[in-house]
Amino acid sequence: MKKFFSKIKNWFVKIKPSKRKIVQLYSALLYNANIKGFFNGRIYEGKTKNMCVPGLNCYSCPGAVGSCPMGSLQNALSASGARTPAYIFGIIILFGLLLGRTICGWLCPIGLGQELLYKIKTPKLKKSKVTRVLSYFKYFVLIGLVVILPLFWAIPGFCEYICPAGTIEGGVGLLSHPNNASQLGNLGALFSWKFTLLVLIVVGSVFVFRLFCRFLCPLGALYGFFCRIALLGIKLDKNECTDCGLCVSVCKMDIKRVGDHECIQCGDCISVCPTKAISWKGSKLFLRKNNVDLPADTDIKPLNGMLKPKADENTQGGADNE
């Protein structure tokens, strides 16, 4: 009997979610606190909908209590003949300055969904120069579908043609309720396309880490512009860094350097740095020097020796020097 309970205890310690996972789950639940929406098949339309959540979460999700920043941006640009969308610009800039892509790593339900899918045990596609090139595609999504199409054709292009959050949260979320059954007759080619894309992204995310985030997400592309100046996030101490390249090789995103525009500030690199050069911005305020948080995942083992630096990796740029 005792053995069983100690087994349970060990199992619980093993599967215990990391701090980051807990924050991701928390934010996903908070953004969708209107659970009654799933039971009555209606979107919440109260005052809190005027506020955007920082991550990608569809306005039309029955559970959503806030707006989607991408949806709001496209909507505002579509109507910008009437007035400049200062409010949504301001909110996105505020999120970028405060958090940058820590939103991607900690506060986005879609990022969470992809990471959970990736946990399914299959062979995984490793990142490469090809994936690095593909990661620039999301900028085309941002410029073409989020800026140009709404601004000049009043079409919310990303919402309409791509966004998997909309398809699963808004589309499937609403259509699965019997009160909305009459809308099933209104589905056409567009829904077929979007649903196919959703299935491809879901299946692909099992094999490719954060497939949507890396290659398609315009919000991640946008927040990436704030990587150097965001208040919170990962920082690299250039004095301690020996260019060993371990951080880049452990990282599952297509970074060239820790903390660049591809970095989702997850912190997985912190524990592998042999010289403890990587830490959280602002960590001096809350942690003692060299007391860096270890992730709960135990399959990342810091190397004691140093690796040959990769020939094409140069750690340059505006990393903070304390």
């Binding site: 606190a33 659970i35 009654k36 209606r42 009043a154 009459s182 942690l287």
Partner: protein, 198 residues
């Protein structure tokens, strides 16, 4: 307990309180109140809204407003639309045709859901009733005899689905007789669905 632990506990407690507060608020306090709105069989609330008349193919804001109670004795059909909704733009001429055919018994009111920029929206509608995807014989039609109004205060009075186009039929005493599902109607559907309430 050192400062760090106090800070951590406070932060976690605050976060927990916010989440619990949100779950309680959205699910138990801020309820939909959809039962308060008029459904089929309920008397409709009265309302007074701006209306536009068509002069020489141009919409002009009328000095007189539209008041629902003025039309007791006539069946009133309220059709809700929005400028960005193509199926809405496409079905408006069909409702106008229905109004013209049965004008002795029915008053059709086409209500735009966006309360701002009404003049601009209606001017744009006259020039572009429906885009190329929905092109039909009515694509350059500018003769309307039904009432055009603009208000976002009317649709919330009823137990309608969350979308446009949606249409409500009120009987001669102002009682809600029928609420359509959200979706497009061609002329035949308009007649089939609404004629029985006249």
């Amino acid at each position: 307990m050192n400062k760090e632990k106090i800070f951590k506990i406070s932060a976690v407690s605050l976060a927990g309180a916010v989440l619990c507060g949100a779950l309680v608020y959205f699910n138990f306090i801020d309820t939909d109140d959809i039962e308060q709105k008029a459904g089929v069989g309920d008397i409709s609330a009265d309302f007074t809204i701006d209306k536009f008349t068509v002069e020489d193919g141009i919409f002009v804001l009328d000095d007189e407003k539209f008041t629902l109670s003025d039309y007791k004795g006539k069946v009133v059909v309220l059709n809700f639309w929005a400028s960005w909704c193509q199926p809405c733009r496409f079905e408006i001429p069909f409702f106008n045709e229905f109004h013209e055919k049965y004008s002795t018994e029915v008053e059709v009111v086409i209500i735009n859901q966006e309360s701002a920029n009404s003049q601009k929206i209606l001017d744009d509608y006259v020039n572009n009733p429906a885009d190329a995807n929905y092109a039909n014989d009515y694509s350059k039609w500018t003769e309307y005899s039904c009432t055009f109004a603009c208000s976002n205060q009317v649709m919330p009075l009823y137990q309608v689905g969350q979308g446009v186009p949606v249409t409500i039929v009120l009987d001669r005493d102002g009682k809600v007789q029928h609420i359509t599902e959200v979706g497009f109607h061609d002329y035949q559907s308009v007649e089939n669905e609404l004629l029985k309430y006249l």
